[in-house]
Amino acid sequence: MNFKQKYVFLFPGLFVLIGILIFPIIFVVRLSLSGWNSYNGLNFIGLENYIRLFTDDPRFWESFFRLSFLSVTTVILQYVIGFALAHLVWKDIKFQRFFRVLFLIPMMTTPVIMTVIWRTFFHESLGPVNDILSNFGMSPKWLTDPVLAKVTVIIVEVWQWTPFMFLLLLAGLLSLPKEPFLAAAIDGASPVRKFLYVTFPLMAPISIGAIIIRLIEASKIMDTVYVLTSGGPGTSTETSSFYIFIKGLREFQMGYAASMSFTYLIIMIISLTVIAKVLTKLMLKD
């Protein structure tokens, strides 16, 4: 076969790659250098949008730090609960299959629909949660108190995505070699020591992968916020993606929204790389 002919077979894949990955990124960069909105076209305004973003838009940075808090908190909780549940059904327990399926159900539901249901649960005057709590003299403001609204978002996110963590960690647990556990048993290690010195270290590579995947997903949190609180009360649950959505698709400041998206992409690439390195160092130190 002629050497050059081999490249012909690469073209279809290359075209797809350019079409769905490279072109949109290049277009976003071009868009971010324009003032495209409801009254201007794709003009060229240089770095104006970036200057505005870095010097005159504290709301973007506030939403970014809020997002960092929400995503780190939800992922930590998902990891802890997911690991606990995976550990539970990893052992031979009664109704093991039933529980394995049960724990996966939240992930299989449609996020937007489930968030609507959660919103109904947490409705402060008509929802069942406050109906029950009112018997004990409590009626928390789940969606209208700036702090509790964040807690509500965290609850919904944790409920929805813990199964994903559970699934990855259970797959990891099932693939662990049996010998280290046999050795620990022969040495008379307690269950806690077995977990701390055998299970956890062996699970570290999978844990890092699972945490990074969830962090990437959690950093895009949008549907839960959109349906549950619309970023409110005030701006107390507004995340970066929701803010970009407002600027781009509500206010139609496409050029500015593109500059925020691109900046956000760069920040996420850098921060997730750093987080992955730190986690690797911490969890795989031995």
Partner: protein, 512 residues
């Protein structure tokens, strides 16, 4: 001969008299939605539409989510398809996304939808991409019944771009069985020393709402609350804020702009009038139902319409919902103009004028246009004309969550509501009088209709919601909005905003 003539006249008269009824029965039987009136003769009646043949053609519509306006769109699409043989695809979109869903393809030179629903204040941004309403429809019997102000709201520089299907204004709704109840009046007087009456000012509104908050005042075993309002960020909340602001900030003696000073384009949004209104609104968070600061329009309709609150103000929908046959409070509610204020800000002299002021807010309503690039414009206009024909319109008016409100001269006849909807005469009279008085007022505020309007209203929603959540004081919140408005004016171009705003100011200053 005389007998024959008399008989013939009698027969012809009876045919003429009863033919509309027979005609009505025919269409009313096939389409239960219009069974109360049957078909009503007109250029776009059921009878006329049944003569059209659009077999093999597809009409694509983007409308609001159900029920508000989305449900009547889908219902009339189904009826239209049945009558004309057309295929009608209806897409439902949340309110906040209607603008962008049309704008993105418009800007890209495409027309994925033949008909786009939105709000009437989009007109400035959308008009470049919409087909003007053809003369044929402008001269239709249906259009001739539309009020002058709604023709104006749907038009720009004399050209109609949006087809009138709805007419909106904000007014006060209250529980008549409480406010007009002598026992309640006595109790209120004894407890507060004040008269219980339809509130004339926002301060009175607040006092009464606070008094009637959190206890079972109608004896149904459930707690009731003071007021249901649209307070959810980005969910039309800016319109609720403007409704509360007009009393303090629309001074009939200072023409030249409510939102901006037209000459300088300096925002008025952070002047003491608006700040006072926002202060009242922050206070209102204490007398809304639990979770009330997250209420969107649907929640407000459900809350007041379901009998949960004493007051509400915004569009007609909550009032109509309360007056529906299945409502627990049918014929127990009243309509009145928006409350006023005992003082109004004079932005020229920079001082308060201590005199009573009231101003109606003719808030935008649902609007709809046909894409310039649509290939089935005739069918699209026929659909819109059919949507708002006499029979459909009257039936739609009777359903609270349809979101279709009076915009035709014939809608102000109280008998429609008494005879076809079973309203008490005094309620129907006060309802139509409230609406008519707003039409006649010389101190009205019209919606902001300038380029980039969504940026302005979004800034108001963000600022006011920060104040409601306690993140900022009313003054700080509105200072932030004013700063953002100034930046938007700079970005859009002062001249473009000023020129567009001048049209609205002319309407407000009664010069159009």
């Amino acid at each position: 001969m005389k007998i024959i003539k008399t008989c013939l006249t009698a027969v012809i008269s009876s045919v003429l008299m009863f033919s509309p009824m027979a005609y009505a029965d025919k269409w009313g039987d096939q389409f239960p939605h219009i069974k109360a009136t049957g078909d009503i003769a007109g250029d776009c009646s059921y009878e006329e539409m049944s003569k059209k043949n659009y077999k093999g053609k597809t009409l694509k519509i983007n409308t609001h989510a159900v029920p508000v306006i989305g449900q009547p769109t889908a219902l009339h699409a189904e009826q239209f398809a049945k009558l004309t043989g057309a295929k009608v695809d209806v897409t439902h979109t949340p309110a906040g996304d209607l603008y962008a869903k049309a704008m993105v393809p418009f800007k890209a030179g495409q027309a994925p939808y033949d008909i786009v629903f939105g709000f009437s204040n989009f007109i400035n941004d959308w008009k470049r991409y919409l087909a003007p309403v053809p003369k044929k429809y402008m001269n239709s019997t249906e259009m001739k019944d539309v009020t002058k102000s709604h023709i104006g709201v749907s038009s720009w520089d004399g050209t109609m771009y949006q087809y009138p299907v709805d007419g909106d204004r904000h007014y006060l709704k209250y529980r008549k069985d409480v406010i007009d109840n002598p026992e309640m009046q006595k109790k209120y007087k004894a407890d507060t020393g004040k008269e219980l009456r339809v509130p004339r000012t926002w301060k009175e509104y607040g006092e009464m709402a606070k008094y009637f908050n959190g206890w079972d005042w109608d004896g149904d075993g459930e707690k009731e609350y003071g007021s249901a309002e649209v307070m959810k960020k980005d969910d039309l909340m800016f319109a609720a804020f403007f409704s509360r602001s007009v009393a303090y900030a629309k001074n009939p003696r200072t023409p030249g702009g409510f939102f901006f000073d037209l000459d300088t384009m300096k925002p008025n949004i952070n002047n003491p009038g608006f700040v006072e209104a926002l202060g009242d609104w922050v206070e209102a968070t204490k007398y809304v139902p639990p979770g009330g600061i997250n209420f969107g329009l649907g929640d407000e309709i459900g809350s007041f319409g379901g009998g949960q609150t004493l007051f509400s103000f915004s569009w007609d929908d909550a009032f109509i919902a309360a007056m529906q046959d299945d409502s627990p409070i049918k014929n127990k509610v009243g309509a009145a103009p928006l409350p006023g204020a005992d003082r109004v800000w004079n932005r020229t002299s920079n001082s308060w004028e201590n005199q009573y002021n009231q101003a109606p807010y003719i808030v935008w309503g649902w609007a709809v246009g046909v894409a310039k690039k649509s290939k089935v414009k005739d069918m699209a206009f026929d659909y819109l004309c059919f949507f708002s024909n006499g029979a459909n319109h009257q039936a739609d008016l009777a359903i609270g969550n349809f979101g279709v409100n009076p915009f035709k001269n014939s809608d102000f006849d109280p008998n429609i509501y008494i005879n076809t909807m079973g309203w008490d005469a005094d309620i129907a009279n006060s309802y139509t009088k409230t609406l008519l008085d707003m039409e006649k007022s010389k101190n009205r505020v019209f919606p902001l209709r300038v380029p980039g309007v969504f940026e302005f209203t979004s800034a108001v929603a963000t600022g006011t919601s920060k104040a409601l959540a306690g993140q900022l004081s009313p003054q700080e919140a509105l200072d932030e909005v004013a700063k953002e408005w100034e930046a938007i004016v700079q970005r859009v171009g002062k001249k473009a905003v000023q020129d567009a705003y001048a049209v609205g100011v002319k309407m407000e200053d009664n010069k159009l």
